[in-house]
């Protein structure tokens, strides 16, 4: 079943460019996001960081279509998607994972992953009831592709027929990544991909994210609190605080920014932040 090596079979979906321009979101008097602008370059890993309550998840929800921003625009490859519904965004190549794992508990790992492809499949109700011809051919094509490109790639072939509820936390996160990859994403959004993971699981996940970037060539936007990992694998870092972008740039530039240090530590000493970050990197 596990034939061809992953690298040979990996497709090359065209990476998407995401531009967020002057985004504003408020609930009553509470301003969740104010004039947020940044971009995710094609084929890059962009990390979104900031203290708790900074608006990272709100921003994610605006991009994936749960929240409707009050101001500003979201463009995918120059096309304005601000007003489209989540299923349309999925079709356009936007895929995401959730902070609190959002797998379908009543299904096996394989079915969860297959679900990711839903928007790209064509089987209609009548074909589904008979399972003849086109419906079966489509399912078999999907199965072969999922096995070759995703299950082998993420090293989860031993659990493909297990119900997701029986898996460890780290594996569930990996299955969620697998499901997002099955969506044929052009922009992959990861909401805290390594939160709550131990050292080994974090390293595995970081390796998978880098592999996705290199072998699939797609753009990645992630929210993450694990600074050591963010600084290690990101190409670009955007820092949010109180719903505003307070800094962005290369990981090293952001680390040295006094405003970022102030947001995290309450004092404006970048050296202290650097010291703590490297400390985290060694200790964690």
């Amino acid at each position: 079943m596990n034939a061809a090596p992953a690298s040979a079979a990996t497709p090359a979906p065209i990476a998407a460019h995401l531009a967020v321009d002057g985004l504003g979101l408020w609930f009553g008097g509470l301003r969740a996001l104010t004039d947020v602008s940044f971009e995710v370059k094609k084929g890059s890993i962009t990390a979104l960081i900031g203290p708790n309550g900074a608006g990272k998840t709100s921003l994610f929800n605006c991009i994936s279509g749960f929240y409707r921003p009050r101001a500003g625009a979201i463009r995918l490859d120059g096309v304005d998607i601000t007003r489209t519904h989540p299923p349309e965004r999925a079709k356009a190549g936007l895929a995401r994972t959730f902070q609190n794992i959002a797998l379908f508990k009543g299904m096996t790992v394989l079915d969860n992953i297959k679900l990711g492809r839903h928007a790209h499949m064509k089987t209609n109700l009548l074909q589904a009831l008979t399972y003849w011809g086109a419906a079966r051919a489509e399912e078999m094509e999907l199965r072969a592709e999922v096995e070759r490109q995703i299950i082998d790639f993420l090293e989860i072939d031993h659990i493909r027929n297990k119900p997701v509820a029986s898996l460890s936390y780290g594996l569930q996160k990996r299955v969620e990544l697998a499901r997002a990859l099955a969506m044929r994403p052009r922009l992959l959004m990861l909401d805290e991909p390594v939160a709550g993971m131990n050292r080994e699981e974090t390293e595995d996940m970081a390796r998978f994210i880098l592999d996705v970037k290199e072998e699939w060539g797609i753009s990645i936007l992630m929210v993450e609190h694990d600074m050591a990992m963010v600084m290690d694998i990101s190409d670009h870092v955007v820092v949010l605080n109180f719903g505003k972008v307070i800094a962005q740039g290369l990981p090293a530039e952001v680390q040295g920014n006094p405003e970022v240090a102030a947001a995290y530590l309450g004092s404006g000493d970048p050296a202290e932040l650097m010291r703590r970050l490297s400390g985290v990197g060694e200790a964690a």
Binding site: K91, M107, T123
Partner: protein, 347 residues
């Protein structure tokens, strides 16, 4: 003990029956279904047809409630729509039997879509109440739209005719009802191997992330309602040809509860559960009747004394199921299979 089932193709791995034991059992079941009408007497054939009709309807309800997670107490009303459609087409239009059954399913599906519209906004108990309200409205329509439904007196249905043969006895109807039900159960089993079935389960388990995965919620919820009521409509149509009269009281509200109980006892979200649940709910009261008859010589006056007990025992059986086997008869089957797979080892 079974070590593993090695498969060489994905088609074999995703088949409905994956082991030779399963195929053998299915063969036995089909053989029994074919031979049954030649072995069983009139009374048991009557029950067999009734079980088949109920299986069709329960399978439909399980698609909606068990797989899509939308609780409905309107299944009886959808069956009634199917039964009235058959009565109307048979009596006033005169179209052929199988076409009438199909029309019953389609009209019922249309009504189901209308009833399902609130499901985008309301869930759980609230949706159940909305479907009850729809049942009440439909009951009102059945009693008052006299020109079509015959009002409270109802409509008599002429016997079904197929290829010039009159299908009036349970023996004759068995050969139509059971194959139709088998096809419907097979259709449901197929559905959950494809993207549409997966979308239904995704909506049940976590509707918000289903939407992010590209599943339009309203479309799929309405599709589930339509399919479920199609099954109910076809079952109601077969019911009309079986009992040959349809009145507003043919499908009381208690029938909806009967079907919900059937899918819960059988196992929510399993195909085999719909079949076992409907058979259990239809046959157990009859079997209890036999037990009472059997006790008659031992207890004097058993018939009079034990008849009420029969109802109580039936109710108690359902409660015991909910407490000790919340996943239903399907879970018992699964456990039995696992026992034989692992034998001689124990779990």
């Amino acid at each position: 003990m079974r070590i593993a089932t090695a498969k060489e193709t994905y088609i074999a791995d995703e088949g409905l029956l994956v082991t030779s034991t399963q195929r053998a059992w299915m063969g036995v079941l089909l053989a029994m279904l074919v031979l049954a009408p030649f072995v069983l007497n009139q009374y048991w054939l009557y029950l067999a047809c009734l079980v088949a009709i109920n299986v069709a309807s329960a399978t439909g309800l399980n698609i909606l409630t068990g797989f899509t997670g939308l609780v409905s107490l309107g299944q009886a009303a959808f069956m009634a729509v199917g039964a009235y459609t058959v009565a109307f087409f048979e009596g006033q239009v005169g179209t052929p039997f199988l076409l009438n059954i199909l029309a019953a399913g389609l009209v019922s599906a249309l009504v189901g879509v209308l009833v399902g519209i609130p499901s985008l906004r309301v869930k759980g108990l609230y949706l159940a109440i909305a479907t009850i309200a729809a049942s009440v409205i439909l009951h009102f329509v059945f009693t008052h739209w006299v020109s079509v439904t015959g009002g409270v007196r109802g409509i008599n249905v002429a016997p079904a005719r197929l290829f010039g043969l009159e299908l009036a006895s349970p023996f004759a109807l068995y050969f139509v009802i059971v194959p139709i039900t088998c096809l419907m159960v097979l259709g449901a089993a197929n559905l959950f191997r494809t993207r549409i079935g997966r979308a239904f389960i995704a909506i049940r388990d976590r509707d918000i992330s289903a939407e992010v995965l590209g599943i339009p919620l309203l479309k799929y919820k309405l599709m589930s309602f339509a399919l479920s009521s199609f099954y109910a409509g076809v079952a109601g149509g077969m019911w009309a040809y079986f009992f040959r009269v349809v009145t507003p009281e043919s499908f009381p509200f208690a029938t909806s509860i009967f079907f919900l109980a059937a899918v819960i006892v059988g196992g929510l979200g399993t195909i085999i559960g719909s079949v076992l649940g409907a058979a259990f709910m239809t046959l157990v009261p009859e079997l209890l009747k036999y037990v009472v008859d059997w006790l008659a010589p031992i207890f004097p006056n058993a018939g009079a004394a034990l008849s009420p007990v029969r109802t109580i025992v039936f109710g108690a059986l359902i409660i015991l199921f909910l407490v000790f086997e919340p996943h239903g008869l399907a879970e018992m089957v699964r456990r039995a299979r696992r026992f034989f797979h692992l034998w001689p080892f124990r779990t």
